[in-house]
């Protein structure tokens, strides 16, 4: 099943040539200036980028456009639209709502739409929860603000998987919340294994990525501007909508980017908190690679994902042309 090193030799040659060229260029730049150019010090990072960003991208494109024998094909993309050919054990344990999709052969698209929808919901919830949090944290008159900052940072010290699993112990049928409910005489509630639990896990994990860019843009704002607005007759509501909100927009856009991107590609959370009833695009890709061992199909899905993210980024960039919000990509 494992085809990890089935690269054709010409690709390895190409990679080698690339690295050689890079080294030659570095040596040339040192020689020509009789000393080390400052740009030379950037070369480790360039090398890093080439090895771990550009090369993998090229590989993904290569796998996406070839079949298992290395011959050029567009089948992988065709399969994205029509998944009939590979209905297999991958979907067997998924919920009944997938039956229809599987029969229609549009399960991949279904999962993609579901992922985008979940990511959108997650981003909106993060924005609604995160903006006020950032606002209070940035308000110098509120003494608790700095404590809030720390409270938001501490969970980030813990591992992402650990944080998600921790929610299980809270939400399980025999978990903390249900135990508490039962001891108070209520019926236990099914909290896990549904969309809401998945969404909760996503929001919990990605909220700091919304809060901190907004917090940064709010703290960067000159408080004199708020005084100026009030001086010109704006009450607190006016001041917020006409000054604070537009000036924190770069942070909001950065926050949306930083939440939406990982949200779309979320995996693991649906499996833990959704109990495998639902599947997101990240899980699908992971399954193609690791369970099914179909690197070509997995790469095609990854490529589609990347294109979608690039499109959404360029849309967001239009709204923030100066890239003030922390300069995400």
């Amino acid at each position: 099943m494992n085809q990890s090193l089935s690269l054709p030799s010409w690709m390895l040659w190409l990679l080698g040539l690339f690295l050689l060229g890079f080294v030659l260029l570095a040596v040339y730049s040192v020689k020509r200036t009789n000393g080390i150019r400052r740009s030379f010090f950037a070369s480790p990072y360039t090398l890093w980028m080439v090895l771990f960003t550009i090369v993998p991208c090229v590989l993904i494109a290569y796998y996406a456009l070839t079949d298992a024998n290395g011959a050029f094909t567009l089948d992988n993309f065709r399969n994205f639209w029509d998944s009939n050919y590979s209905v297999n054990q991958l979907y067997t344990q998924m919920g009944p709502e997938y039956e229809v999709l599987i029969q229609r052969g549009t399960v991949n698209i279904g999962i993609l739409v579901y992922s985008l929808w979940m990511a959108l919901l997650c981003t909106i919830i993060c924005l609604v929860l995160g903006y006020p949090a950032a606002y209070f944290m940035a308000d110098r008159n509120i003494k608790i603000g700095s404590i809030l900052v720390v409270l938001f940072i501490i969970p980030m010290w813990m591992n992402f998987l650990l944080r998600t699993i921790a929610w299980m112990t809270l939400l399980e049928d025999q978990g903390l919340i249900n135990t508490l409910l039962k001891s108070l005489g209520f019926h236990s509630v099914q909290l896990m294994y549904n969309d809401r639990a998945v969404l909760l896990g996503m929001v919990y994990n990605f909220l700091p990525f919304m809060v901190f860019p907004i917090y940064t843009s709010l703290t960067k704002m000159d408080s004199k501007l708020l005084e100026a607005a009030q001086d010109l007759g704006a009450n607190h509501l006016h001041t917020f909508w006409r000054v604070t909100a537009p000036l924190s927009l770069p942070g909001v856009i950065s926050g949306i980017t930083m939440v939406f991107m990982p949200s779309v590609t979320t995996f693991f959370i649906p499996r833990i908190l959704g109990g495998g009833n639902t599947m997101m695009f990240g899980d699908l890709i992971e399954n193609r690679f690791l369970t099914e061992g179909n690197w070509n199909l997995g790469s095609a899905l990854s490529l589609i994902m990347m294109v979608l993210i690039l499109i959404s980024l360029s849309v967001l960039r239009k709204a923030d042309p100066e890239g003030e919000g922390g300069g995400m990509i």
Binding site: K224, D231, N235, R242
Partner: protein, 364 residues
């Protein structure tokens, strides 16, 4: 108690931050169409006073009246005053036009009316055609003008200006001083101006309020503040001065710097310690045989219009301004006309700002 023409009254205003007094018993009234300047070194409380009137700070105690009504608890957006902030605080996300129109849009003035008013304001501050520009593209002086227009378009009764010219270069500052004064007179608006620049204060104001350490030291028109400083601090802060400790021997005769000088002040009693202030330009250099005291020229500095000479009489080192230069090391006589000697009650020493500079030490 409140006279009709008083627009703003500050009565016994005190302000404390964490038990540190920033303002102590400020009493001040501002008349309609008056140009009042709060003058003092940084940290003297002048900006705090302005912010209390603007509504950005609330006094710990005391009363703030506007047209006789207590406005001490009103938020800034309900006060009929507008502020020009030190660094202008223009909205970076709005262009020049929208910055100026901000207050008008909040007040829900019809768009047509806003357009007319903003254009008029742009004309007033010599920025016609700049409406569409981003505020970052403007020079410091132009930003300043936008800030003025943004405040004035709302037709405030009082304009509060917090060191508005501090960031401009000397030439531009002089031009803007005249322009602000022109606008104030043309529009008939009350200006309350905060500055640490005594020359600016003297040039522009109808009334100068000298502050130090959260207290008002003197209120008066520029000429009286300059000519009749209430104490040594005011004398030192406004213009340059020789400040000495002296002894009032009797009415119209004071002793300082080791000599007796006739003066025009009376009523201090006999043999009373006093502070003596003499402006550098009021000391005449005469032949060393006819001077009231003699001294040796220590140093000579060319200052443009005049020379500044430090003259050591043995008792005191006098700062003297004269258009005629004396050679360094030469022996000269000094003479002071009686009405140029200003006698004042001695201040508590710690308040003197130039303490330790050595010029006013060891008189008598």
């Amino acid at each position: 108690m409140v006279e009709k023409e008083h627009l703003i009254d500050l009565q016994h205003i005190c302000k404390e931050y964490d038990d540190t007094a920033v303002l102590t018993d400020i009493n001040l009234y501002i008349r309609k169409k008056e140009f009042v300047t709060l003058l003092g070194p940084s940290g003297c409380g002048k900006t705090t006073t302005l912010r209390i009137i603007g509504g950005f700070e609330y006094p710990t105690s005391g009363t703030l009246l506007f047209e006789g009504k207590d406005i001490g608890a009103l938020p800034p957006y309900k006060r009929k005053v507008n502020t020009i902030f030190q660094k202008y605080a223009l909205f970076p996300h709005l262009n020049v036009f929208d910055n100026i129109a901000f207050g008008q849009k909040i007040a829900k003035v019809p768009t047509k009316e806003i357009n007319i008013r903003v254009e008029k304001m742009l004309e007033l501050v010599n920025l016609r055609g700049y409406g569409k520009r981003s505020v970052d593209q403007l020079s410091g002086g132009q930003q300043q003008r936008v800030a003025i227009a943004r405040a004035l378009v709302n037709e405030p009764q009082v304009l509060l200006l917090d060191e508005p010219l501090g960031a401009l270069d000397l030439k531009l500052r002089k031009d803007m001083q005249l322009e602000l004064k022109r606008m104030q007179q043309a529009l008939g608006i009350t200006f309350l101006y905060v500055t640490h620049d005594q020359e600016e204060a003297l040039t522009m104001s109808d009334t100068v309020v000298v502050m130090s350490d959260g207290r008002i030291l003197q209120i008066g028109d520029p000429k009286s503040v300059y000519d009749e400083p209430a104490n040594a601090f005011v004398a030192d802060f406004i213009g340059e001065s020789n400040i000495m400790r002296g002894m009032m021997l009797q009415d119209e005769l004071v002793r300082f710097s080791g000599a007796n000088f006739p003066c025009v002040d009376a009523g201090f009693g006999e043999n009373q310690p006093v502070d003596v202030v003499v402006r550098p330009e009021d000391i005449m250099i005469v032949g060393n045989d006819i001077g009231q005291i003699t001294g040796i020229v220590q140093s000579v500095l060319f200052k443009g219009v005049h020379y500044e000479m430090m003259i050591d009489t043995g008792e005191t080192i006098f700062k003297v301004h004269s258009t005629v230069m004396q050679a360094q090391g030469s022996n000269v006589g000094l003479s002071i006309v009686p009405y140029n000697i200003h006698i004042m009650k001695p201040m508590l020493r710690p308040v003197l700002p130039s303490e330790g500079e050595g010029e006013e030490e060891e008189a008598l």
